[in-house]
Amino acid sequence: MDGAGVRRFGLGSIPWIGAILLWYAVRWSGFVNLSLIPAPHQVAAKFFELLTKEGLLIDIFASTRRVFFGVALGILVAVPVGFLLGWYRPARTFADPMINFFRALPPIALIPLVIVYFGVDEVAKLVILVYASFFSGVIVMYEGVSQITPLYIRVAQTLGANQAEIFRKVIIPLTVPHILTALRVALGVAWATLVASELIAAQRGLGAMIQNASTYFLLDVIYVGIICIGLIALIMDMILRKITARLLVWQDRAIA
């Protein structure tokens, strides 16, 4: 690691150290009943216990897989739909109110209906995540696509491009940044929705683990679950940002 890398790493870790210190400070302040706040080292110990004895990895895998497929399917649909809405004004007038109606519904409110129509197995959880990813992604896509300037299309026309070439060589490259942003937003929303989706009688998964722990008042397990969700979401976002940086080297960014 070079000097700048060390610096960035240092800057990035300060808030984490601060958060852990604050956590201890709250415990030591005496204002809160100690049994209500497990200490960071206790949570860490619990983490290793769950990891080695209780199969925490299976929960992590189950949740990550759900989020992955939920986002993948949601975005797969959101990209063409968002594109159509952004590109064709009549399509927007036609579908915009309805999209905003469904977007406003919290996924958790749909769970009883999802159970009725899709049962309680894996499909039901996936439906919730796809729903959440689709509606967050579709908005990003169509806002982005509707802002594509017609200048580049005109330029391509004057160079002799036909409709198919304009689509393939101009519109697709201009759409890629919006697809990546939609993916990032949807990933965040999907993790946020995960616990709700695993309320549906999940056996395994981080959300299920938190649900079960709350029944038995195992606060340390709840903390482990929450921290795992946050960390995995963070890692996935970092991977996506790396991919974005690789794909969009051409973009003029304010922050490198």
């Binding site: 200048l151 330029v155 004057t158 160079l159 002799g160 036909n162």
Partner: protein
């Protein structure tokens, strides 16, 4: 001389909430092969609309815009367009930008030839060192040079330029004008240039079309008495100064007429 482009009693108007707006009115003139026409007039007068009809982005309401004797049906690679906003593709490198037109089915060439054409224009436009850079690393002048190189690469018979140097600083602008003269000398192209700079029009063009305040009609067509190749020394000649004062006066008249039109109705433009 062969007529490349013809404006034949061309008018363009459209409906607005406030009534019918005439943008171009009864314009007729020919552009011959090898001509360098500069169209000059007050801003917002409709001169860009003229170019836009020849480029194929807009259709006349009445009259005909002809290219090589046929009515213009839409944009095409035989009429290259240079936009004021450059329009270089930010997702392609400099070289890929120049090659863009050559990869299209309308003017596809073999990869080897494509490379040779790119290298030729990279050199001509002084962009060789930036062949693999992205446009975000280029200055305004370099971006416009890239746009010109890209337009030239598909060998258009005609070049339409819409205030191409309008966004550049004075020094870059004058460099670009000299470069354009040099390129025209070697590549030989028929040009229609839209500009609001009288000096630019005289320095570059063989004929100047002075356009009235909106709706755009032809006020006067003036032959520029300087032979090509030209260099900056012609700007010191007394004829240059006389022509400049004369055209300036015409343009100022039209500018005032335009101001009078706009007052007090709105400040919309």
């Amino acid at each position: 001389m062969t007529k490349r482009a013809q404006f034949d009693n061309v008018s363009l108007s459209f409906e607005t909430p406030k009534g019918r707006l005439n943008v171009v009115e009864d314009v007729s003139y020919d552009i011959n092969d090898g001509d360098f026409i500069a169209v000059i007039g007050p801003s917002g007068c409709g001169k860009t609309t003229m170019m836009s009809m020849l480029a194929g982005f807009q259709k006349p309401t009445t009259g005909n815009v002809l290219f090589d004797g046929r009515p213009v049906a839409g944009p095409g690679p035989e009429r290259g367009v240079i936009f004021q906003e450059y329009g270089v593709f930010p997702w392609l490198t400099v070289k890929q930008n120049i090659a863009f037109g050559l990869t299209l089915s309308a003017n596809r060439v073999a990869a080897g030839e494509r490379d040779a054409i790119c290298d030729h224009y990279l050199g001509l436009m002084g962009l060789s060192d930036f062949a693999s850079s992205y446009p975000k690393h280029l200055s305004g002048g370099m971006r416009q040079r890239l746009a010109i190189a890209r337009a030239y690469a598909v060998k258009p018979q005609f070049l339409l330029m819409d205030e191409p140097f309008g966004a550049l600083d004075a020094q870059t602008r004058s460099n670009m004008q000299n470069l354009l003269l040099k390129v025209l000398e070697t590549e030989g192209k028929t040009v229609m240039l839209i500009t609001h700079s009288v000096e630019e029009a005289i320095y570059l063009a063989s004929r100047i079309v002075v356009v009235t305040a909106r709706p755009a009609r032809i006020r006067e067509i003036i032959d520029v008495p300087f032979a090509y190749p030209r260099d900056e020394s012609i700007q010191e000649r007394p004829e240059f100064g006389e022509l400049r004062s004369y055209i300036r006066q015409l343009v100022m008249d039209e500018y005032r007429a335009q101001q009078a039109q706009m007052r007090p109705a709105s400040f919309s433009e």
